[in-house]
């Protein structure tokens, strides 16, 4: 628990929230509260509650081919959304359902998962393989950036100091795409010891574009560009899945932490990559 919260603000607008944040350097935005409430920081901080700013819109716009998710939308609301359940054959809702437990998903928000992303974040890994844009306020300016640029330092530091407004997921290529999410954790609602997401766009089984991301390596999720390039143009199948697994184990930077060793992670990445691609192949073949 944060023991030194000196003030708690309820701003009436995004602009007011941003200006409160600019004024107080040791301040945090709060919506779900899950992570911040568990922080053991002993430095004085102020909290700025953005939970009531109406940033919890959630909609699937089939005509536009987009899902719009307000930053303070709880993970569980996305899981329960009927329209989203059919997106990428359930990929988004089923993978988000792997996060924590029901009460944690009720409190945790998508925006909160991105402002200060944890290395083991499932959300970052999942969104890494989708066409996601993030809209946020930074220094009084409204900006929209491609989520894949999260790995660039300037974007990460900007997000740390921003109010995230919403995420937008483009579903334009969805009809010819399939995706899979894999997670290894020590108990049902423990955080990931390794997570992996794969999305394949294909033309009758031939890979047009591949995305592969792994998180909790134990570092924050990253994409395996070399594996993605190798997969492009290939025909989906069990042999390709095995080959991609071998390659992923070489390409991903993996390390030790108190959960599991780097060596264990290497074996897991190989198996999870192969299983994810096999699963996609089976889905595409039926």
């Amino acid at each position: 628990m944060l023991k030194h919260v000196t003030d708690y603000h309820y701003p009436g607008s995004l602009e007011e929230a941003a200006s409160l944040h600019d004024r107080e350097s040791r301040s945090f935005f709060i919506a779900g509260g899950t992570a911040l409430a568990l922080s053991d920081s002993k430095r004085p901080v102020e909290l700025i509650d953005v939970g009531e700013l109406g940033l919890d819109e959630l909609g699937l716009d089939e005509a536009e081919g987009k899902i719009e998710i307000g930053a303070t939308t709880s993970i569980q609301r996305i899981v329960e959304h009927q329209g989203i359940k059919s997106v990428l054959n359930g990929f988004l809702s089923e993978s988000l359902e792997e996060i924590g437990s029901y009460p944690i998903r009720n409190a945790g928000t998508l925006g909160g998962s991105l402002v200060h992303p944890f290395p083991w974040s499932d959300v970052v890994t999942i969104l890494s393989v989708l066409d996601t844009e993030v809209t946020y306020f930074h220094n009084g300016e409204r900006k929209t950036r491609d989520f894949s640029r999260l790995y660039e330092d300037d974007f990460r530091s900007e997000l740390n100091e921003s109010v995230i407004e919403k995420l937008s997921i483009d579903l334009e290529d969805e009809t010819s795409a399939a995706a899979s999410f894999r997670k290894f954790n020590r108990s049902e609602f423990d955080v990931a010891a390794l997570n992996l997401a794969c999305r394949i766009n294909h033309d009758q089984g031939e890979i047009v574009e591949a995305r592969l991301a792994a998180g909790a390596r134990p570092m924050l999720a990253e994409r395996a560009n070399e594996v993605e390039e190798e997969l492009t143009g290939e025909k989906l199948g069990p042999e390709l899945a095995r080959k991609a697994g071998n390659m992923a184990a070489q390409v991903f930077e993996l390390g030790d932490d108190k959960k599991i060793s780097g060596e264990y992670r290497e074996t897991l990445v190989e198996k999870m990559t192969a299983d994810a691609i096999k699963g996609i192949y089976q889905e595409v073949s039926t």
């Binding site: 509260g33 899950t34 911040l36 409430a37 568990l38 909290l47 009460p103």
Partner: protein, 153 residues
């Protein structure tokens, strides 16, 4: 600072510290069914309903529930709650009892939105509740029995 919230149907104004979690505020104000277990959101002993959704009160700042409707087990008094209580007793689903308020909140939340859950759905709803005594089998049976009873009525 003041927290204004409806707790178990009563509109209350409570004095809270900006950094206090909801669990501490509820217990200080006499809602003792809300238990402190892990205080890290893992065990579910402190589970409450916030605007109808089950959440762990140890991971929420009290100030976050400004204007919200909070329910603890003490405030569950309808047919569903009564049936759950009876079935938990009949099935022997309660042993030491420490986790039970949280388990009842999860079960109540599930059956409020899904009157006929599958066993898998019941297990998923209890994901956030740790019980070291029962092994969950009797609790799952009690929830199933409640769903059947209320479905028949």
């Amino acid at each position: 600072m003041n927290l204004e919230a409806t707790i178990n149907g009563e509109e209350l104004t409570l004095e809270v510290e900006p950094g206090e979690v909801l669990l501490d505020v509820l217990r200080r104000n006499g809602f003792k069914s809300v238990k402190e277990g892990c205080k890290t959101g893992d065990c579910g002993a402190c589970m409450v309903l916030v605007d109808g959704r089950a959440m762990t009160s140890c991971t929420l700042f009290a100030a976050q529930v400004q204007g919200a409707e909070i329910k603890t087990v003490e405030g569950l008094n309808d047919e569903l709650a009564e049936s759950l209580r009876e079935n938990f007793l009949d099935k022997g689903a309660v042993q030491c009892g420490f986790c039970i308020p949280g388990v009842l909140i999860s079960a109540y939340s599930l059956l409020s939105s899904n009157a006929d859950p599958t066993e898998e759905e019941i297990k998923a709803a209890l994901d956030g509740n740790l019980c070291r005594c029962t092994g969950y089998v009797k609790q799952i049976e009690a929830i199933k029995e409640t769903a059947e009873e209320l479905g028949d009525s």
